[in-house]
Structure formats: structure tokens, C-alpha cells
Amino acid sequence: MTQQIDRIAEPWGTRTPYGPGEAWPARVDTHLAEGVAADDVDRWVQSASILHSNGDAMDIAVKDGRIVGVRGRAVDRVNHGRLGPKDLYGWQANGSTDRLTRPLIRRDGRLVETDWDTAMDAVAGRTKELLEERGPSAIGFYTTGQLFLEEYYTLGLIAHGGIGTNHVDGNTRLCTATAAAALKESFASDGQPGSYTDIDHADVICLYGHNMAETQTVLWTRILDRLAGPNPPAIVCVDPRETPVADHATVHLAPRPGTNVMLMNAILRELLEHDRVDHQYIEAHAVGFAELEKMLEDYTVERAAEVCGVPAADLREAARLIGSAERLMSTVLQGFYQSHQATAAAVQVNNVHIVRGMLGKPGCGILQMNGQPTAQNTRECGADGDLPAFRNWSNDAHIEDLARVWNIDSMQIPHYTAPTHLMQMMRYVEDGSIRFLHVSGTNPAVSLPELRRIRSILSQDRLFLVVQDLFLTETAQLADVVLPAATWGEKTGTFTNADRTVHLSEKAVDPPGEARPDLDILVDYAHRLGLTDKDGAPLVKWTSPEEAFEAWKECSRGRPCDYTGITYDKLRGGSGIQWPCNDEHPDGTERLYVDGQFWSDPDYCESYGRDLVTGAPVEPTEYKALNPHGRAVIKAAEYLPPHEQPSEDHPFQLITGRTLYHFHTRTKTGRAPQLQAAAPEVWVEASAADAEEEGWEEGDLLDITTPRGAVTARLRISGVRPGVLFLPFHYGYWDTGAGHEPDGQGRAANELTLTDWDPASKQPIFKTAAAAATRIAASGGRSASAPTTTGSRPVSASVPPTRGDETALVSEQSSTAGGTR
């Protein structure tokens, strides 16, 4: 059956209900440019989504050498043919007329067009100068969660192995660092325990600070289809906003921002109190339970109810559901990761699963989610503050092994401390010890906290800033050299989603003008630097993506993320494949830790962990004393109050977040007309109670201020928790007159956020700031332009609903038979 649906108005499309243990039926979503029919398409080119972490597989439609649309791949295990709005419409950004097509270089204070040779000579030349003058620690690399695996691996090799700097991180620091950190704390290695297919089996699904309906729309569609079928799962939602997830929840807990550890500890205490504990499992497969028991003594439901501002009865009901689940699934995202005590809170979710013995079985998955499409690869390939293939920087044998793979001296690889995290790198740029910063595929001038500080750091004369991107972003406007990059659909490579599924994304069309794939740029850079291995051969021994992938496979051999069983050919035509994939698991691995064996042996593990309060790395001897060989580590955590509390001057708690229709700083989604129209302008959310108290109405213009800055936005009266203000962080300045900074009124949420991060994961905190709000103008009958379909849904019915025009119609083809699992 085929129908046309406006997927702006109905982001999750039509229901295809199914029951527990059944196959999720396929539904193929297609969106093509106006006037193009499926029969007109010259070629369909295999790819996957690059606008979120779900890894939805799709084919790119090509006509006359141009991308003209997308179609979901029914055969793929992840999405069974479905696509979310960002993918259905976002492809149009590739063809924007303002793509960068030539390199730019700063001359007399202005960026002017130049040729590749001049630009790359300037980049390599400055690198070499600084290496001679100040050494490798003057060089830093800040990449993204949106390049391909092959590119990250090459970048990691150049930076760690070639230049020898410790300063390499990705913007994954902002989105998924806590996921990795929490997995390392509990299981001693990164690696997602669960699988998306756990949704097909679970009887209770908990979403902790995870507005899945907006961040991974297709995964949420899978849950909606379970909810519409027989024997649906119960949903537990922890979120201070009334999100679409909360609307479907059996229990919705809306805690005061910054109190997640208190909330989790109270839930855990209830589980222990009612002995909802798998003692046998703990005895055989975990260490640290006694410490957890002792820690939880003081965390009563009553105390948590008070601190979190959540009814005690709701906390008990949530604990009862979790405690009585037979197949418990949990997902975690930014509500925990970008909040106070991020890692400590996320680790408690792992603890729930360990003490309940709910790991490695169908329906018993943990998904410590990623935010970005290729964030998993940034983590795996050593481009984000980790070493390649989950090698442990504080294990000398791992460094020796990496040096063997790279054929270099092990002293060349800095490992005297953990690779420098982004916020520390910004500090080193600030104090002048980093003087060269290469930024690829990310936009720190909008996405980092406390933007006034960030702009001042990035615009220093003594800093040589290189930006490699598709558009002249806010950050690119501050650069010394801008390198035009090719993107998704214009280059080939692989990437891995949040449930370890590896997809191939093939080149469909040529990049615009002189834009080049990031891999080509990096290889060129390495050659210009003259980087060699210990035998004098070129350090980077590949030029094509497939060669880079083959090299990566060798690097991953025997490690948790073993790719040795995957080839480009194997990824072509069928479904994506979950790692580890090797001789032992030739078809990939659906769930980790099936036998209760963890990668925690001290000689094998990726990490010995950190102190969850101070962030101090656990020393190898301390770790060994825990005796974790093959066992999970239950790590208890005390609650600490948030660092910035509301005051008389700043009475509100400010949280920032995202909307379904945009990705990051709208670099792509702001250039897709249907998405931009759905959420065209920044807004601020407050509760009906606060609006009444302050005398505000829907659409009033408010000034939101913190000691760091100010933002002006129209008010949406929504279901957010009273006392809390919500601002979407997508809106910067590239499409305003001012270019890269506010001209008068600020609109980037990060004008307001504070510079603070979780000491364990080093992820910045975007969800606990104290703010003031005052009305500067009445609405004049205008409502805020926030979507009505999502978490920003208005409490009043008088706001016009969010709809697409005729170009937003998407073809949905449903079959009664299920797709592959």
C-alpha cells in the first residue's frame, strides 16, 4: 500500500503495529525533488543517514549527475525502509548555491579565494614552523562526528603518530563523550551492549534524558509501532519537558535539572530494598556491589522527591516497573550527558542493568546513545581523545602494539596522559600554548558554551585557525584558511551507528567546484608535512577510502571493535553489519556480553576508569586491586548539588536542547526549505505556571540573560517543568546580517551557557545554568515559531499547527511482511 504523507506534520509517519518477538514490518519512505518520479531516476546509490546517530540506511537518487532525493532501504536491519524528516528533506543542502567551492585564505584581514596549493602550503607551512619553534603540543585538531571512519583513522594517525601531538578531539565531546565514559566505567571498554532489536522484545523501556522521538525519529517509530501492537511495553520517561516520549509514558519523571544522580540512586535503592536484584548474576559477573549498597543507604525516595522535585509515588512506580520488568531496555542521551554529574548518572543506568542481570539477552539492552551519525567512529578510530581501536593510553603494551601497526617508534605516540579533551584544548588556545588549530566539520563558534569567550579565543591573532567545511560557517568566518570539503553523497566511506551497525556510503555525485573529500585533504596534508614511518616510507600509506578501511581493519584486529570480517563488498547490497565482525562472528554480533563476560581484563580493557567526582584516572594498580577480570564494575556515585543554582537575580534554571527538524547549527537543515520552515527562528519555552506568575503570554518577546550574555526570543508556553526555561541551541548567525556574532540581540543559546564540564567524561554541561527572563515586547498577536508537533508543543490550542507544503509530501510504501531483523 502506498500513500503520500506530509512528514513535517507527521514526523513519524504511519503506524505498522507489531507484537513482542515479531519482526518489525517494513515501510519504504521516499522523497524526491518536485517533478521527479521514481522512474526518472538514473541511479540509486547506497548510503545511510548523516544527520543523526540512528544509521538509517537509504539509497540516494541521482538524475543528470545531481542528487534528486532519497529512499529508505527495506533490507536494512536498522530502519526497515523508514527515514526521518531530516533525511527525507536534508539532502537538498548538498546542492545549496552557497557551498564552498574554492579554498579561502586570509589576506589583509579578509578571506579571499585561492588555489589548493597555496592554501595547503600555508597550512602545512605553519604546522612545520610551529613544530620547529614550539613542538608538537602547539598543534591541535578538533574534528566532528560527521566525517567517515577512514577519515578519522587517517586524522588520528597523522596527529598522534605523525605530528605527535596529544591534542586531538571531536565535537563528539559535546554529544557522546559521556556515553563512552559510562561504558568504560561499567564495562571497562567502549561498545554498546544492546541492539535496536531489543525494542522488539522489551516489556519495559526506560528513556533517560532521551527525547528519542526528536533525536532518533525512526527508532522512536519502532517503539510507536510496538505501542500500537499487542502487549505493548511500558515506557518510563525521565525528562523535564513534556516531550512526545513523555506523552506515551506510563510514568513520566520531570526532575529538577542537575539532580539525575539523586534520582537514579533513589531508584536503585528501591530496587535493592525490594530485592529486585539478580544476586547470582552479580556474584558471577560483577564487582562493587557492596560499595553500591553502602552508598545508597541515604538515598531514600523521600529525599530524592525533595531534591529532584518529583512526587515520591512516581519514583516508586518507576522503580516498581523497572524492578518487575522481565526484559528491560534503557536508553540514555543528552538529558543525562549534558547535565551535571553526567557520567555518574549514566553509570547508574548501567548499574540498574547489572544488578537486575539484564544484559546480553533479547530485550535487555542498554543504549548509551550517540548524537551524531559517525560519533562511534570518532571514538573507535582515535580522533576524539581515545586511541585507535579502544587501546588504553595508560597501558604501555597497547601503545607498543599501536606503534607496531603504524610502524613507528612507540615514543612518538604521546601517552603520558589521556589525549587532551576539547575544553582543555580551548584553554590551551586561550593561554597561547596551542597556536595551530585544525577544525573539521564542526562549528565551535556556535556550539561551545559561553560564546563570547569562544569567539575571543578563536579570533586571536597568534592562533592559526584552519577550518575544513562545506559552508562559510560562523567558525569559518574567523579562520586563516578555509578548505572546501566534500560531504555525504560526494565521497565514499563507512560509518557506524549507535548500535554498532556499520554502513557503507558511496559516492553518488561529484562535489561542487574544487571541493575535496576530507580524506584527500588529510592525505595531502600528511605528504606536505613529509610524515614518514620508522623505515622512511610515507606514514599514511593509502589514498583511497577502501585502502584506508583495510588498514583500519588491521588496527582493529583482536580489539573489541573488530572489523576484520567486514569488506566494502560485504556491505554492498544488503544490510549494515554490527561489529565485532571477524572469523568467529562472520555475520557480526547482535548483542555484547551474552555470556556475562566483559572486556575488563586489565591487560585488555580500554580504560581503568576515573573518579566520578574528581575525574582523576584510576591507576593500573588500583584497578587490578578491584579484581575485575572479565567482570562488570558496579560504580557507586554520591550526589553533588549543581554548580550554578538559581538565585534572586537569576531565578530560572536554563536548559538547552534540540528540535526534531534541525541538526546542530543548522548548517545543513537550515538549507532544506521544509525543515527550515518548520522551525525558522529561535524560541524560548516556559511553563504555563511561570507565564501566569510573570504575566507573560505566548509569543511575547523575552530577554534571557545570564552573567555570560543575553538572548532575545519569542515565548512558547509549553509543558516544560515550572522554574525551567528551554532554549534550542541550533540558531547561530550565519543567516543573519552580522555573520558570525550577535548584532545587538543574541540568538545562540550558548551565549548564556556556563563553562563547566563533567570531570569524568569532560563533556560540557549545557543543562544547568541560572538565568533571568524579562519581557521586552508583547506578542502583538504573533505566536512563537516553535514546532507544535514536538516537545515545544504549545499548551494553548490557538497556535497554528506545524505543517509542510506540497513539496513535503513523502511516499510511504507499507507491506504486511516484516523486513530483515
Partner: protein, 173 residues
């Protein structure tokens, strides 16, 4: 219980002295951490974490004052606090010097000082715990067992921060 009281009377002076000393050194450690926090406002992790873990020492001061009563000590349960005004002056100074690399040398010196202080406090706890065991004073032992691990965490933190920053500070000055 009787035995404990007898032992307290017999050895009370020495133990009381040790508690008093630890009460003083925990106060000093809290002060040093708060001072470090103010000095390093531009190093945000140090600013926040030093404050978080200064609270541990302040809590230890309270616990020691409480248990000190058993030894006829009249210790102030309220941790000493730095004059807020002074702190603000220091913070402003840190903001002004944040653009220069040399002040980071001071950071290394401060962390070294802090590590030594925490090491001293740790040894004092060790002594007190041993004493409590010998005297079968479970109350005192509980205080030592609750507090000492946090002192060790303070020490490890200072050590870890030195490890994290030393190379950048020394080599890329």
C-alpha cells in the same frame, strides 16, 4: 564500652591532640582547595572540582568536632571560610592573567603544595584509624573510615592534574 571510656581517659590527651591537629589540617586543606579554586578561575575544571572536594574537608571538620567531644575537645564544627571579598579580588586577578601562559607554572606549584598537604592529612587519618582500632573506639574508627578515602581522592586528584598539565606547561611555554 567501659573499656573504651577507660582507654579514652588514659590516652585521651594524646588522641585528643591528634583529633585537634587533624581538625586544623582539614581546615587548612579546605582553605587551600578554595584558594586554588579562586586562583585558577580560568581553568574551569580546577575551579569547580576544587570547590566540590573542599566540601569533603569541610564535612570532615564537622565530623571531627563531633567525635572530639568524646575526648573533651571543644572544636568549632563550622569550617573556616575565606573572606568572600578576598576571593573575589583573586578571581578577578585570575581572569586578567588568563591570557598568559606563565601563570600556569603557579598552577603546578599550587598542585604540588596541595598534594603534600593532602598527603599529610592522609597520614594523620592513618594514625587516627590505627589508634581507634587499638582503643576499640568504633565511633572514631567509623569517622576515619568514612573520611580517609576522600582524602586519598583529593590527593589522587592533585596528582592527576599535575600529570595532565605538566607536559604542556613545561614544554610548550
Amino acid at each position: 564500652m567501659k573499656l573504651v571510656q577507660t582507654l579514652r581517659t588514659l590516652h585521651g590527651n594524646k588522641v585528643g591532640g591528634a583529633i585537634e591537629e587533624l581538625h586544623r589540617s582539614e581546615n587548612d586543606l579546605a582553605g587551600a582547595l578554595l584558594d586554588l579554586s579562586d586562583q585558577q578561575k580560568v581553568d574551569h575544571e580546577i575551579f569547580h572540582v576544587a570547590r566540590d572536594i573542599a566540601a569533603w574537608s569541610q564535612e570532615h571538620v564537622r565530623r571531627l568536632a563531633e567525635v572530639g567531644r568524646d575526648y573533651d575537645l571543644d572544636l568549632d564544627p563550622e569550617p573556616e571560610d575565606e573572606a568572600a571579598l578576598l576571593a573575589r579580588v583573586k578571581q578577578k586577578g585570575a581572569e586578567l592573567t588568563g591570557r598568559f601562559h606563565e601563570p600556569t607554572l603557579l598552577l603546578l606549584a599550587d598542585l604540588r603544595h596541595l598534594h603534600r598537604m593532602a598527603a599529610g592529612v592522609s597520614l594523620d587519618w592513618e594514625v587516627l584509624a590505627q589508634t581507634a582500632q587499638a582503643m576499640k573506639d568504633t565511633e572514631l574508627l567509623t569517622v576515619a573510615q568514612d573520611c580517609h578515602p576522600q582524602t586519598l581522592r583529593q590527593m589522587r586528584w592533585a596528582n592527576a592534574k599535575v600529570k595532565e598539565t605538566a607536559a604542556q606547561i613545561m614544554v610548550t611555554g
